[in-house]
Each structure stands twice: as structure tokens, then as C-alpha cells.
């Protein structure tokens, strides 16, 4: 009964969003009242979605197994936290969450935007159309309320144990918030294109919304990377998996967008670019949703894919993307600014980086699509792996760091003289060449990407450090937010390079009582312990580890193998010893016939700093929202 109420609320909400969209199309002809109506009806629609979702959470906590989705993805023995997170552990529920965030976020925008704003009614209308379209998708092709009545099962299925993890439980919500966050920029700019009134300053409106969306997306991606690192047992932080790539593409486009917004809010020059980017970010989010949910990439997936889902998503995203781009093409001649960008001005460097980012996005997109195209033409399955992405992304990252550093000391709207002997730019280039070479000699690694990565990372760090020192000593204003965020980027580049350059692993065979020594540590495998938990049996190895150097540091590590009862799944729980600059990462493999165990020992350098730098970038962006209001 309660499930039906929740279902009914969702159906009502879709009706209200349709109504709000229809009203918004009438605003051209009639008076102001209709505009207020659009906003009101929209509010009610999102409240209905929200209440419906709250009831669904309650149903999930109550373990209402008359609902097929809950029966299939949750069970009675789960902790309440995982009962709730089981909602977004599969397609229907995660789509539901996506829509909830979409409508709440849009409602927040609706609430914040003054009624007098010229683009309010049309942009709310576009948002209504988007939410309506997704609600129809949810209700007709992936209904989370599908019933198992008349007779409900006594208990549900377990959720996949590797998904029973706090980082995984919270990372999809952040990702979805990031994805849907860019809908505001999309809707507002499409409204701007439809209206075609060039005097409207949309930059100021969408900048904070895009920054918040960028932060949330960054947090979501970082949490996902952290989870994959400690849970999957492979010891990496990024796998260039298609699902990761479809999150990376909107992130890169979003990064380009927030920079481009910054330029176009100061000078008119990049306006057309900024609009195109704001359309692209959300389009790439839609593309990602399509790729992941239509099942065309992950064809070994165990569930039967419903081809209708893919078709609906394709048609709906197609309508949104192509129509907004058609408006863009229509207004394009008016948008292109007449004043040319001066070479060696700040805008010029930012534009070059815009182009580099778009190139990177196309490269990643090609990597995702290439297996599909290949399969379509040659009926053969291939996969595109890390070597492709690394060889393309690394040079682009290198080049864009250089142009970033050029942009630091340059001025708006005029050419700047950058290279004189004592300029901060020359100084930072010299210093970072020195540091990069020093590291290369010290660590005896002369790979081009290793030196290049360290060079570009230190170049950014040093250049911003010089800026900060200079401006603080002269008591001049400088953009603190930008300095912090870009310092984060510098640390990220250095950490990635050092991680790739130094990390290594070894696979050993060892039995209880034996020890293994390498040049840093001695590993003693003391014994094994069998543990019986509520929902799994576990075998836990006890390692005593001594460092070989003078410090004679001693610690224990407990890698573990678990067998879960309900699904019979076997998982490996790696043991991780965290030190400031490296992680020791032990994974228990299989037992051999002679009683020895296969054990994988990895040293992962600077891996923590990759995530820390993401947090620093987020902090910088958070400050950018507060940064002094943009003048025009």
C-alpha cells in the first residue's frame, strides 16, 4: 500500500513537470503570471519526487520484499546503512536517485533565481522537460516499484559484498550530484540561445553552480578511485575502464567550462566557446548515462539487457543534445565576438588550453568508442587499454601545464612580455628543470614521461609559489582560490609521475612460519586464523614486517580472503600499511598444492597524494565560489 503511494507520487510528479514545461512554452505570449506558475508547478513536482524517494528509502529500511527491486538487491541481515545504499546498487534505483538529485538541484536553482530573471521561465521549462523525460524512462522501462505480489519472498538476495563498503555507498551520490549539477548551465544557456538576447549576463548566474558541480564530480571520482584501490585488490587508482572514462569526459569538459566561464565573464571574447562547453558537459553526462545503462559497452554483464532502455535513452538524449546544438548553430554568427584575441594575452593561453582539453576529451571518447566501431565493422572484439590513454593524455597534460604557467603572469586583453631574464617564468622553468633532473638522477629513472611529469608538476608549483611570495610581499591582490587549486594540480602531476615511476610489485610463494626479505623490509608470515562472521567465513594471514634499515620499525599486516555465504562469492581483502610517501599493499592469492600461499606485495608510492591533491583542488574551487564577485 505504502509502495503504491510512493509510486503514485512519482507519477504525479511527472504530470506536474509536463505541466510546468507546457506553461513555460506559453510565456512568450502571455503575462508574468504564467512565469510564476511555471516556477510553482516545478516546485511541487520536485517535492513530490523527493517525498516519493523518502518513502522508498523507508520501504527499503523496512525490507519490503513485495517490491521486486528491493528483494533482488537487499536482504534482512544488512545494516540499515547498506539497506539504504542498496537502493543505488543497480540500474532502477540508481536512476531513481539520479532523478531525485536532478529535481532537487533544479529546485534549489529555481528557489535561488529571482523571479525577475528573464531566463527563469524558459530555463525552468527546459529543466522540467529533462526531468519529465527521465521520469517517463524510469516509470516505463525501469520501474523501481515492480511488484512480486501476490506472494513476496521471505528474504531478499544479498548485495554484492564488494559493494558493501562505505566509500562505494557514498561515491555514486557524489558522482550523480556532479553529473546533474551541470544541468543548470545546460538549461540556462539553452534558454539563452532560444531567447537570443545577447545582453543577458548568464556567466555570473551559472558560474557558482558549475563550480559546485565540478567539486562534487571531483569528489565522486576521487572516492571511486580510492574504493577501487583498496577493495578490488589490484592496487591501482585508475584503470581507464569505460565506466571511469565516461565520468572523466564530463569532468574534463567541466574543467574547461569553469575556466572558460572565468574568461568570458571578464571579456566577451570566449562567449561562444563557453556556451558550447556548457552544452557539452551535460551532453557528455547524458552520453555516459547512455553508455553505462544501455549495456552496449559491458556486454558480458550477467543481466539480460532490455534493448528498449538503450533506445529510449538514445532518443531522449539525442533530442536534448541535437536541439540545443541546433539553437547554438542558429545563434552562432551573433555569438562570435568581433574582437580578436591578442596573442600572448591571458585569454589566448586559456583558449589554447580549452582546445587541448577538447582534444583530450575526443581522445578518451575515441578510446571508449573504438571497440564498438571495430566490433560493428569487423565483428571482432578488441579492447583499448591504458597504453593508448597514457600516450595521448600525458603529452596533452604536459602541454596544458606549460600554457597554464604562461597564463599566470599574463594580462587580460593585451599581449604580455613573458620571457625576460629575471621574469618569474624563466626562473620557474629553470628551477623545475633542475628539480626534475635531480629527481630523475636520484631515482635513476630517465623515462621521458617521468621527467616531463615531474617537470610540469614542479613548474606549476614553483610558478604559483613565486606569484604568492611576490604578491604577498608587495601586498597586491592575487587569486588565492586559483593558486590553491593549481597547486593541487601540481601535486597531482608529481604524484602521478612518481607513482607510475616508482611503484612495483612482486609475487612470492610463502608458507606459514617462513619469511621473505627484500631490500626494504622482511616479511614474516606467522600464521593463519580462521574467522566465522555472520555472513562470511574468512582466512586471515598474520604478517610481521620489519624494516631493514636502522629505524627497525615493526608492524603487523593482515591480508584476508573471505567467502560470503549467500552468493558464495570469494573476495580478497588487501592489507594496506600507509606511510607518508608509500603504501605497502599485501594481497592474499590462492593456496598451492604444497601448502604454500601466493602472496602479492606492492609498493605504491605517493598514492595518498593523488587523492589529497584532488581534495586541495576541491578546496581551491570552493574558495573560487567565494572569490570577489566578477566584474564585467
Amino acid at each position: 500500500m505504502i509502495a503504491e503511494v510512493s509510486h503514485f507520487f512519482l507519477v504525479t510528479a511527472s504530470g506536474l513537470f509536463l505541466l510546468s514545461f507546457i506553461f513555460s512554452t506559453l510565456t512568450y505570449k502571455t503575462n508574468h503570471n504564467i512565469e510564476i506558475l511555471v516556477s510553482r508547478v516545478f516546485s511541487y513536482g520536485s517535492y513530490f519526487v523527493f517525498v516519493s524517494f523518502l518513502i522508498y528509502i523507508w520501504l527499503s529500511i523496512q525490507s519490503d520484499f513485495s517490491i521486486r527491486y528491493i528483494a533482488e538487491h537487499s536482504n534482512k541481515d544488512l545494516a540499515v546503512f547498506y539497506k539504504i545504499s542498496s537502493i543505488w546498487s543497480a540500474h532502477e534505483g540508481s536512476m531513481f536517485l539520479w532523478i531525485v538529485f536532478l529535481s532537487l538541484w533544479s529546485q534549489f536553482f529555481n528557489f535561488k533565481l529571482p523571479q525577475a530573471d528573464l531566463l527563469k521561465a524558459p530555463s525552468i521549462g527546459i529543466l522540467s522537460f529533462i526531468i519529465f523525460g527521465f521520469l517517463i524512462f524510469l516509470l516505463f522501462t525501469s520501474n523501481p516499484y515492480d511488484s512480486l505480489l501476490p506472494i513476496a519472498p521471505a528474504n531478499g538476495a544479498d548485495i554484492n559484498p564488494i559493494l558493501q563498503d562505505p566509500a562505494l555507498a557514498i561515491h555514486p551520490p557524489f558522482l550523480y550530484l556532479g553529473y546533474v549539477g551541470f544541468v543548470i548551465a545546460f538549461a540556462y544557456n539553452t534558454a539563452f540561445l532560444i531567447k537570443g538576447d545577447l545582453d543577458i549576463n548568464w556567466e555570473k548566474i551559472i558560474r557558482p553552480w558549475s563550480l559546485i558541480a565540478w567539486i562534487l564530480l571531483t569528489i565522486g571520482i576521487t572516492l571511486g578511485s580510492w574504493w577501487a584501490y583498496y577493495e578490488l585488490g589490484w592496487g591501482g587508482y585508475w584503470f581507464w575502464d569505460p565506466v571511469e572514462n565516461v565520468a572523466l569526459m564530463p569532468w574534463m569538459a567541466g574543467t574547461a567550462l569553469i575556466h572558460s566561464l572565468y574568461v568570458s565573464s571578464r571579456s566577451n571574447s570566449l562567449r561562444s566557446w563557453t556556451i558550447l562547453l556548457s552544452i557539452s558537459v551535460f551532453s557528455l553526462s547524458l552520453f555516459g548515462a547512455f553508455i553505462v545503462r544501455s549495456g552496449i559497452i559491458d556486454s558480458v554483464h550477467a543481466f539480460a539487457n532490455d534493448p528498449q532502455r538503450g533506445l529510449y535513452l538514445l532518443l531522449f538524449s539525442g533530442i536534448l543534445i541535437i536541439s540545443s546544438l541546433a539553437f547554438y548553430a542558429l545563434r552562432f554568427p551573433k555569438l562570435v565576438s568581433s574582437n580578436l584575441i591578442k596573442p600572448k594575452s591571458k585569454e589566448s593561453f586559456l583558449s589554447i588550453n580549452n582546445i587541448l582539453f577538447v582534444t583530450a576529451i575526443f581522445a578518451v571518447m575515441l578510446g571508449v568508442l573504438y571497440p564498438l566501431i571495430f566490433d560493428f565493422i569487423y565483428e571482432e572484439r578488441i579492447s583499448v587499454g591504458p597504453p593508448y590513454y597514457n600516450t595521448i593524455i600525458a603529452p596533452i597534460a604536459f602541454l596544458s601545464s606549460i600554457f597554464l604557467v604562461f597564463s599566470v603572469g599574463s594580462s587580460w586583453q593585451r599581449s604580455s612580455k613573458l620571457f625576460f631574464i629575471y621574469s618569474p617564468l624563466s626562473l620557474s622553468i629553470l628551477l623545475s628543470i633542475f628539480v626534475a633532473c635531480f629527481i630523475a638522477f636520484k631515482l635513476q629513472n630517465f623515462e621521458w614521461w617521468f621527467i616531463g611529469g615531474n617537470f610540469s608538476g614542479f613548474l606549476i608549483l614553483i610558478r604559483y609559489l613565486l606569484l604568492v611570495i611576490n604578491n604577498i610581499s608587495k601586498k597586491m591582490y592575487f587569486n588565492k582560490a586559483s593558486a590553491i587549486a593549481h597547486a593541487g594540480l601540481g601535486i597531482l602531476l608529481i604524484s602521478i609521475s612518481i607513482n607510475a615511476g616508482l611503484s612495483y610489485e612482486k609475487i612470492i610463494n610463502i608458507k606459514a612460519g617462513d619469511s621473505f626479505q627484500d631490500d626494504m623490509y622482511t616479511f614474516n608470515l606467522l600464521d593463519f586464523e580462521l574467522i566465522n562472521e555472520d555472513n562470511f567465513d574468512s582466512i586471515k594471514a598474520k604478517f610481521l614486517i620489519k624494516s631493514n634499515d636502522a629505524s627497525e620499525q615493526v608492524f603487523y599486516m593482515f591480508p584476508e580472503k573471505r567467502k560470503y555465504f549467500i552468493r558464495g562469492q570469494i573476495t580478497s581483502e588487501s592489507a594496506i600499511q600507509i606511510t607518508p610517501f608509500k603504501d605497502i599493499y599485501i594481497t592474499l592469492g590462492d593456496q598451492l598444492d604444497n601448502g604454500h600461499w601466493v602472496v602479492n606485495i606492492q609498493y605504491n608510492y605517493f598514492i595518498r597524494w593523488i587523492w589529497i591533491s584532488a581534495i586541495i583542488m576541491c578546496l581551491g574551487s570552493l574558495m573560487a565560489i567565494k572569490e570577489r564577485s566578477i566584474k564585467k
Binding site: 533482488e72 547512455f290 550477467a302 541535437i322
Partner: protein, 174 residues
């Protein structure tokens, strides 16, 4: 130049759209479907009511063999569709997989029995011989030969795309 940029901006997504449309509507490989033919191995198993021992010869000429268990949630999900198939006159024999016979019988009494009879494979030996990896799985069998092996839930989409074309081609269930 401007015309060119405008065209490119529109053509890229349209090409993408057409490509994906073709990809999605193309007759595609169904994950879980296996069309390697093989003969049903020889077996002798109780049925779940322990009334009779069945062998390979007791199987009908044309049947669907459905691997199920009372502990299997997806089997519960699939159950409604199997009942519909039974009503349309398809003969379905059950292969009760690694399950207690009391649980299995209770399950059938509670939800309804779509099966002509259910073999009781508590050790999973016949299932192993037939390449079963879990429940539910469904086999289409004609004269002792397996024509289709599908792992996962059978629903209308799977039926229409995986089973029905083979049934039609082999002129079965007439």
C-alpha cells in the same frame, strides 16, 4: 567558415546518434545465450517428491529444462513468466539444483508449479555435466539434444530474442 563550423557542430552528434541507433537495433549477441548443441548426458535422478527415479529416456521429445532452487531469488522473479509459458502449452521440466526437497516442495506449493516434474539434483551432478554455473538457467531440448542454453532470467525479451527463433526454426511445440 561560420557555415562550416555550424555544420560540423550539428553533424557530429547526428552521426553519433545514427551510429548508436544502428548498434542498438542490430541483431545482437545475447549475453548468457549459448547455441552450442550437445546431447543431454545420461542420468538417473529422483524427482523432488521422491516418487520415481527418472532417466534420460523419461524426458519428453521437446521440452524446456529449467534449473531452479528455492533459495534463488531470480528464480522467484522468473517464476511468473514460466507459469505463462506453461499456460501457453510449453512443456517445462524442472531441474531442482542443490536444494532440500522439503524446501523445494514448499516453494512450489506456495507459488505454483510450472513444471511437469522436477528432478532433484542435490549434488548438482547432472547440472555440472550440462555446464550449469548457477540458477536460473534454461535449456531448450529436442530429442535429447540441447539446442539453446541460457544463463539468467528468462523474460519476454529473452524469450523473443533467444528461444523463439530457435523454436520456430526447428518447428517445435506444434
Amino acid at each position: 567558415m561560420k557555415i562550416f563550423i555550424r555544420l560540423v557542430i550539428l553533424i557530429i552528434p547526428i552521426v553519433g546518434f545514427v551510429f548508436f541507433y544502428n548498434l542498438l537495433t542490430e541483431d545482437k549477441f545475447y549475453p548468457g545465450a549459448n547455441f552450442d548443441r550437445f546431447n543431454v548426458p545420461v542420468f538417473a535422478l529422483d524427482d523432488i517428491t521422491s516418487q520415481k527415479i527418472y532417466t534420460k529416456d523419461d524426458l519428453n521429445d521437446e521440452l524446456l529444462l529449467n534449473v531452479w532452487a528455492s533459495w534463488c531469488i531470480t528464480c522467484r522473479v522468473e517464476h511468473g513468466f514460466l507459469m505463462e509459458l506453461k499456460q501457453e502449452g510449453f512443456l517445462i521440466t524442472g531441474l531442482n539444483y542443490k536444494d532440500e526437497s522439503t524446501d523445494a516442495n514448499n516453494w512450489l506449493n506456495l507459488y505454483g508449479n510450472p513444471y511437469s516434474f522436477s528432478l532433484h539434483d542435490i549434488k548438482g551432478s547432472l547440472a555440472l555435466d550440462m555446464g550449469v554455473t548457477g540458477a536460473p538457467e534454461t535449456f531448450l531440448i529436442k530429442n535429447g539434444e540441447v539446442l539453446v542454453h541460457y544463463s539468467g532470467e528468462v523474460n519476454l525479451a529473452v524469450w523473443d530474442n533467444v528461444f523463439y527463433p530457435v523454436i520456430k526454426e526447428n518447428k517445435m511445440f506444434r
